[in-house]
């Protein structure tokens, strides 16, 4: 069955295709018929009238394909019109959820087409097709009435408001106030006939007012109700626009909103006359919420309302009760159906639809909460170095407050409790009743970790139903102690840990949270599914290719029209821009990663009793999202090393005549198309002699070998050295440094180290901007083309006959500058026919991977191209010499060669040949 998203897409595709049916193209009509038939089954259930039309269309197209209806202008136009009305009906349906009857003329036209050819044969597809509809005709847009234009205008504005309301931060009162004002401005646009709409607008305004006045128990909750109210309002208006006179449906909607605004339902059902506003009141924003008009106890004190809502089983209604009221009676109703079945007390089960909505709300909550936690964490660290800044304190407070509110709404009691306890501490600090000590900061930071874990638990619970029980009471008790000043001994962090049963701090546990947390503060962001991004990149890539093909079309280049040439070059510019932008969408600032490092340095330094100042620069440098995620582990490792072993203890530093405070600087910057991440410390540096000694001991270096500093420093990345048991003795560096290097090389990056004994070390990681694009050399072998990553190419040559030699008639070798390299004949390897099999007439490319080299025999080098890497599906990725594929300039798929695989293969083979040789010799 087609998904709703697909229905829309198929509709568009078919409409597009209908516009340009080429009678000579044998595929297009069957293709259309298939898609139309799919539409019929997709629409059948909810839009029977549209499904009928789709069926007629499918029949027509089928008949056109079979030749029983001529493929001419008349038939194509009829189908195109049919498609247009189908699309119109679908758009209407999306808005109103009602099936619009299909316009009779369209049906008539189509059936006329068939009648014309009736005599010849009626195809079997005619079965089940009912032509013509008895219903009155409404087609495309809602019936045009006098006020229609105005309704559209209101709808547009309303839509904007709705969007903003869904995205704004309820704690930011200026935003809420702005929203309220915008809502006010709509009122005059609503004519008197839609007084229901007016009443609704007023009620929503009142909710906003209460949010601003902090009358609502919870702002987040309030906002959600407003957002729902806005959606209802949109529905209401659309119905009015379509000429529907107040049905029972509209009445229920209105009553629900009334309850949400805090009115007893009696007044709500008859709001029309009472609130029918004169223009004066509408224009005056202050006039619309007379304080006395809102009975505060309305929602809780009215049993009728509650019973009413219970009968409706509507989650909206349930949450409506919660606004302004936080009494125990509302708590049960606050449970969100389906999400947390275990905690749902007496709440009636909601309709299936509601569960989906709630799951959405829940996932929104999780990502938002994670963002807030990330923000709180970085702000907390900022606050620590700048304790007098009350704005920072307020910011953290707001984050916790928001989390608490939303968690309360979702009935996540543990999260609410923890957030609440921290909120208390922070509130104390704001009122200056409590001083923010380092120990308190610890507690707050710890709570952030705990909340992250709790969030993860909750997510897991929703996803898999697995109930994780984490005991937060120990933590809560500690928070209370801390708040009351009974601070625990801050020099014993280990005991702190033990006091929290079931809670282990794990730095990696939420590795993807809070990405770009700070950025959200400055700019507005849209969360986009990466799948969609990939599709966008694909499609844009395709656009560029098609564009090039058009530009290179001989007919176009033969044309003497200057206008055409200009237009094409303009098109080229635009599509290149578009490609650039689409590629950059995957880029995210590295800030979140850096902030995590800041936190880690702080924790580690406290643990080892060192004083370390952490600074970062260039945290807004953008990298591919994958790179940012992958760099986390190696960077963590390096930073840990720097704190643990790089920076000396205060005593040592004093003895060395250095300031007691150590410094670690983490910075990122661009350099020549690459990103450099640099980690500097002013610790003791690498002890050259000891590293060298170890290397000699392990036989990695000859005792009398002269090595430059750089070569010695590089030794710490050597697996033979760094994985040895006592490495941490070597000036502290080297634990798993080989792993660090391997991880970075996996990202097609490089890591280097520079060190000055006594004054510190600098580690620099050189990374490509993105993993999605490589510079490739396109090579030709026979008819096929392959892409060889430029980074793996050493050189290319056409060998002289004396450079080619064979080994025992088996392996071939090429001598390049007195070194012999095995030759791989790509055509043999891939089973394709080559143009040239003699290496002296063809070309040889010398490649290198993992320190090994080999030669590839190819027919020609076709030039450099930047290509977007695409994966091959599992069943096609059988050959280790292939790493993926890419679309070439002409739209064909080219396979990307994997130098590692090629080199590894020759290594294996030549070793075998040598063994063979031995065997033969003996």
């Amino acid at each position: 069955m087609l998904e709703p998203m697909q229905v829309q897409k198929v509709l568009e595709e078919v409409s597009g295709a209908v516009m340009m049916i080429d009678p000579a193209d044998p595929y297009i009509l069957p293709d259309l018929a298939v898609k139309l038939a799919q539409l019929v089954s997709a629409l059948e259930e909810k839009q029977p009238a549209s499904a009928r039309l789709a069926a007629v269309l499918a029949g027509t197209v089928e008949a056109m394909s079979a030749g029983t209806i001529a493929v001419d202008e008349a038939s194509m136009e009829a189908v195109a019109r049919g498609m247009a009305s189908l699309q119109g009906a679908y758009v209407d349906f999306q808005r109103t959820q009602r099936d619009s009857p299909v316009a009779a003329p369209v049906m008539d036209e189509l059936s006329a087409l068939r009648r014309k050819t009736e005599g010849s044969d009626s195809s079997p597809q005619d079965d089940g097709v009912i032509v013509g509809t008895p219903d009155a005709v409404v087609f495309g847009k809602p019936t045009v009435t006098a006020g229609d234009e105005r309704v559209t205008q209101v709808l547009i504005r309303l839509n904007q408001i709705h969007d903003r309301a869904a995205n704004l931060n309820p704690d930011d009162y200026s935003q809420v106030a702005q929203l309220q004002m915008d809502l006010d401005n709509i009122t005059p646009l609503l004519d008197t006939s839609s007084s229901r709409g007016r009443g609704l607008v007023e009620q929503l305004g009142r909710i906003l007012e209460r949010i601003i006045l902090e009358e609502c128990a919870d702002a987040v909750q309030g906002m959600q109700i407003v957002v729902q109210g806005l959606a209802l309002l949109e529905d209401l208006l659309t119905e009015t626009g379509a000429g529907v006179t107040g049905g029972g449906d509209a009445e229920t909607l209105l009553r629900r909103i009334a309850v949400e605004a805090g009115d007893p339902p009696e007044t709500a059902t008859a709001p029309v006359a009472e609130t029918a506003p004169s223009p004066e009141t509408a224009a005056d924003p202050a006039g619309k919420h007379i304080p006395g008009e809102v009975p505060d106890s309305g929602e809780r004190g009215n049993p009728v309302a509650a019973a009413d809502l219970g009968a409706e089983c509507s989650p909206e209604a349930a949450l409506a009760l919660s606004i302004g009221g936080d009494g125990p009676d509302t708590d049960d109703l606050l449970n969100v159906d389906g999400v947390f079945p275990a905690s749902t007390g007496g709440a009636p089960p909601g309709p299936a639809q509601a569960v989906i909505v709630d799951a959405d709300i829940f996932s929104d909550f999780c990502s938002e909460a994670n963002e807030h936690l990330g923000l709180a964490e970085s702000t907390m660290l900022e606050l620590e170095s700048n304790p007098s800044d009350t704005e920072l304190l307020n910011r953290i407070f707001r984050s916790f407050h928001t989390i608490k509110g939303a968690a309360g709404f979702l009935n996540l009691t543990d999260i609410t409790a923890v957030a609440h306890s921290i909120e208390d501490i922070l509130d104390g600090c704001r009122k200056q009743a409590i001083t923010l000590t380092a120990a308190l900061t610890d507690v707050v930071l710890e709570s952030i970790d705990l909340l992250k874990d709790l969030l993860e638990d909750a997510q897991r619970q929703v996803a898999t139903g697995a109930v994780a029980s984490r005991d937060v009471s120990g933590f809560l008790a500690r928070v209370r102690d801390a708040a009351e000043g009974r601070t625990m001994d801050s020099t014993e962090p280990e005991t702190e840990q033990k006091e929290t049963p079931g809670y282990a701090r794990d730095g990696q546990s939420s590795s993807d949270s809070g990405a770009g947390s700070r950025a959200t503060r400055h700019q507005s962001h849209v969360r986009v599914d990466t799948g969609k991004l990939d599709t966008l990149v694909n499609v844009v890539g395709e656009l560029v290719i098609t564009q090039t093909q058009v530009a290179q079309n001989p007919e176009v280049s033969a044309s003497s029209s200057q206008k055409l040439g200009k237009d094409i070059s303009q098109l080229m510019k635009i599509s290149n821009d578009l490609q650039e932008i689409s590629m950059s969408l995957r880029m995210v600032p590295i800030r979140a990663t850096f902030e995590r490092m800041a936190r880690m340095v702080r924790d580690l330094a406290r643990k080892c009793g060192k004083e370390i100042v952490f600074a970062m620069h260039g945290e807004d440098t953008e990298l591919d999202k994958n790179v940012v995620e992958e760099i986390m582990d190696p960077l963590t490792h390096m930073v840990r090393n720097a704190v643990d072993h790089g920076i000396e203890s205060a005593a040592e530093r004093r003895a060395a005549g250095k300031p007691e405070q150590g410094k670690i600087l983490l910075q990122a910057y661009h350099r020549g198309g690459h990103i450099v991440i640099e980690l500097r410390d002013n610790g003791k540096g690498i002890d050259r002699d000891r590293v060298l000694q170890k290397a000699v001991d392990r036989g990695l270096v000859e005792p009398d070998q002269e090595l430059t500093d750089r070569e010695v420093h590089d030794l710490i990345f050597h697996p033979g050295l760094s994985t040895a048991d006592k490495v941490s003795d070597i000036s502290g560096r080297g634990v798993g440094m080989d792993v660090v290097r391997r991880n970075i090389e996996k990202l097609r990056g490089k890591v280097e180290v520079d060190s000055e004994p006594g004054s510190g070390s600098v580690f620099s990681i050189n990374l490509p901007l993105t993993l999605a694009i490589i510079d490739g050399m396109v090579i030709g072998v026979g008819e096929e083309r392959y892409i060889l990553p430029l980074t793996s190419i050493v050189s290319s040559l056409r060998p002289l006959p004396e450079q080619v030699s064979t080994l025992l008639d088996k392996g071939e070798m090429i001598r390049v500058q007195d070194e012999l390299f095995p030759l791989v004949r790509l055509h043999e390897r891939f089973g394709v026919r080559a143009l040239q099999e003699d290496p002296c007439k063809a070309l040889v490319v010398l490649i290198e991977a993992e320190g090994e080299r080999c030669c590839l025999l190819v027919d020609e080098l076709l030039g450099l191209q930047q290509v977007v890497i695409k994966g091959l599906s599992e069943q096609l990725r059988q050959d280790p010499c292939l790493s993926g594929c890419a679309i070439l300039g002409d739209g064909k798929v080219g396979l990307i060669l994997d130098a590692n695989g090629l080199v590894a293969r020759t290594r294996k083979r030549s070793r075998m040949s040598i063994e063979d040789a031995y065997q033969r010799a003996s």
Partner: protein
């Protein structure tokens, strides 16, 4: 070997009664035989295009194509069914299907029609003994005097996956 061929198929696909099979089918020809695919599995029909061969794949995998920026595998149904190769004509085309959540193309000789097949027109595939593999045939439709072999595209792919496993195991 027989067992490995059948187990992965039987636990993934649910047996369907003939009544369930009634519905719309998209039909095409391989030689003189007409085959049908469930309409909802068919994504689109495109003309023949350049196919890039991929080394080390079974013979019936023709290679990959660029479908508007997406790279999808293309199988040669003739080879899959053990039929001889034929010259490509301008009627040869690729049917893009969705099999087990994966988009892939199937090369066929020519497309035929979209047709409704009623339950009473469908019968089970007769058994031809062990050397004719009828696993991926859902049933046989006999509408309007023509015989149409109704294919289970999911099973065609799963049989292919088994082949893959075997190919790897043999290496």
């Amino acid at each position: 070997m027989e067992e490995t061929m059948t187990t992965p198929v039987s636990d993934t696909a649910v047996e369907r009664s003939l009544e369930d099979l009634a519905g719309k089918y998209f039909t095409f020809f391989l030689g003189k035989e007409e085959y049908g695919l469930e309409i909802l599995k068919v994504r689109e029909i495109i003309g023949m295009m350049d196919v890039t061969p991929v080394p080390r794949t079974p013979g019936f995998v023709r290679g990959v194509i660029n479908l508007r920026g997406k790279v999808i595998p293309v199988v040669e149904l003739r080879r899959k069914f053990g039929m001889p190769d034929v010259e490509q004509t301008n009627e040869t085309c690729i049917i893009v299907v969705q099999a087990r959540g994966v988009e892939m193309g199937a090369i066929v000789d020519r497309v035929s029609e979209v047709t409704d097949i009623a339950a009473e027109e469908i019968q089970e595939a007769p058994s031809f003994g062990s050397n004719v593999d009828t696993d991926f045939i859902l049933g046989i439709g006999k509408s309007a005097g023509h015989v149409k072999l109704l294919l289970d595209i999911d099973r065609i792919l799963s049989a292919q996956e088994v082949d893959q496993v075997q190919a790897v195991a043999q290496n």
